[in-house]
Symmetry: C2
Subunit: 240 residues, 2 copies
Amino acid sequence: MVSRALSIQTGRAAIARHLEILAPLNESEREALTSLKELVDFAAGQEITKPGAPLDDPMFVLAGWICRCSTLSDGRRQILDFYLPGDLVGDGSRTGKRAHAFCVALTPATCVRAGELIALTRSQPDRFPGLANVWGAFESEIEKRLIDQIVRNGRMLAHERLAHLIKDLYERHRRVGVLVSEPFVMPLTQEMFGDALGLSTVHVNRVLQQLRREQIVRTSLGRVEMLNAQLLEAAVQATR
Amino acid sequence: MVSRALSIQTGRAAIARHLEILAPLNESEREALTSLKELVDFAAGQEITKPGAPLDDPMFVLAGWICRCSTLSDGRRQILDFYLPGDLVGDGSRTGKRAHAFCVALTPATCVRAGELIALTRSQPDRFPGLANVWGAFESEIEKRLIDQIVRNGRMLAHERLAHLIKDLYERHRRVGVLVSEPFVMPLTQEMFGDALGLSTVHVNRVLQQLRREQIVRTSLGRVEMLNAQLLEAAVQATR
DNA sequence: CGTCAGTTTGAAGCGAATCAAGAACAGTGG
DNA sequence: CCACTGTTCTTGATTCGCTTCAAACTGACG
């Protein structure tokens, strides 16, 4: 277990890197980031947003995994997207949008409120040229991931879906610097993988066994570890 | 066949109704809509946008059906979303977004450029209070449909997917006034349905036969007609 | 009248769901 | 420290939804 203080520190770094990837920041913008102070904690399984709720309290994820999901009346559940450290969750403040789905913490998670920073930088685009434009880029990223999810679940086989999703999660961690090297630990049960990929838990189990035999992953209770990015890449290539 | 002039006229009405649904418009805003003049025609199958292209030329659909789709390297295709008369396609101008997928005309289609209207109303939110905020609402609608698509293809059976999609398309036509009553004609081949729903053409055919036996649809070459909204509703209920 | 895209049909097979039962494990309280 | 509990994982047998393949059929169109 990593200490909470440490994981929050790497979370802050993840936010900064994520922002810098989307737009170069100047000094006053980097300074503005230090105004992100108001932490919010969520327990594993806790609901963060309901469908229909106003999206007026955007937050950055500092630590932990969060997902967006929908459910059908008979209980079938579909995970739509994952939010990782450095990601922005629940944004839509500008346009008065409302949530289209649930937002749930998959693990214990810590976030930091970003509403004020967003409002401030939007109102002064001259002082914050990078940050003022970055919020739209987050929305664009989210749309990209929804599209990936549609293609994955609509046109890929089970093992392709798993490899593709794991690779996506891995890359997202890497580029914001949360992860330095393998193994890459995903705190997801096989049921969560199934709900994300439109597969039954049992079948996820069987596909993971296959990936395990290929030395691509290792599994233990409530987690899957990706061991070898190159082998994973090869497994994904087939679908690109 | 409907005359082009007539279908463009109903297309203009569809745009107006769609906008009014999203935000009430004042007189100067209704007048601003008359500035939508520059028509663009697309042939069936014609590509409108490529992935990576800047989204700097947003257009309203006046007539015809357009879709967004992705393809894998081995040719598997996934339709992500449909754009119908009254819908806004290719928007992202504000944030300099780039397209994440192809945009293709499924039928001969006519659009009208909206870039200037969007820029104008954004720059003068006091004069155009409704329109200035409406563009974000379009993005929100698109996100909603992407989410529906994920849930449909991830967690529904073939006949549920078809019923759910048809109902969605029907409702969207109805609420913008393009459609007054049944039958509701969809100019889609069974292959297109398959590409949208993550099913093989053969299986789409079989499910359509079932819906035909239930008097819900009628089919002919290159089109599917929805005959009875109540029966369709009942078929969808199971999944809500 | 031939062509071609789209639809329809049947047979065979595969991928994944389902059902059911057991094993491994973490957390809990005695 | 250990029995108890509940969650997660694992396994085998069976079923089913859907795909694939191949071939024939239909209707629009030049």
